[in-house]
Symmetry: C2
Subunit: 118 residues, 2 copies
């Protein structure tokens, strides 16, 4: 794996985890697919990581601390570490979504403040 | 914005930055669209942030430290902070991609190690 970049192609798996495939050091990213009517089979929270979810295709429901949040392609969610969450596809639609895990409060600067333009 | 989660719906803009829209603290995420034949108009690198790129639709080329890397929907890249990068759509296809910025080496634990299952 080259020092300056790495590349991985996600196939049509139920779940693909990119941390080891890409040698990530600042975040974990997973790509997840649930068929219509399916749910992640457990509720979970995190110790120190914020999660950022982005819906790529389809629609479903995010259950967060007992609240039902409808989600569809183009929707993004920030979920705080301690929130209890579970994701489901809609009854009549599958869903493809990415989940980013990054340590809460770890980002110090970003975009223009962190960039050098050539 | 609730403490436990926030939600934002990305429209069809050329670039949407989610940090402020979602109140992110562990990463910045942008959703970017380039029409066929278009390029980001500058080369850039980063001071401390790793970038993770995921192609959602279409295809293009990532130029990284002088190397041309063809990319298409489903492809993911890790780009080290110091690498000099520029993204282009293909001549005959637009591209939609997400870019995640997270501080290099900030992730301490992830997935099962960081999770509490209810």
């Amino acid at each position: 794996m080259a020092d300056n970049f790495s590349k991985f192609s996600v196939q049509n798996e139920a779940r693909t985890e990119l941390h080891n495939a890409l040698g990530l050091t600042g975040a974990e990213v997973s790509v997840n697919v649930l068929p219509a009517g399916a749910s992640v089979p457990f509720v979970h929270s995190h110790k120190q990581n914020e999660e950022i979810y982005g819906v790529i295709e389809g629609e479903g429901i995010a259950y967060i601390d007992g609240q039902s949040v409808p989600i569809k392609a183009g929707d993004w969610l920030r979920v705080a570490p301690a929130a209890k969450r579970r994701f489901s596809a809609a009854q009549n639609s599958g869903i493809k979504y990415i989940c980013i895990q990054a340590k809460a409060n770890s980002l110090e600067e970003f975009t223009a403040a962190d960039a050098t333009i050539e």
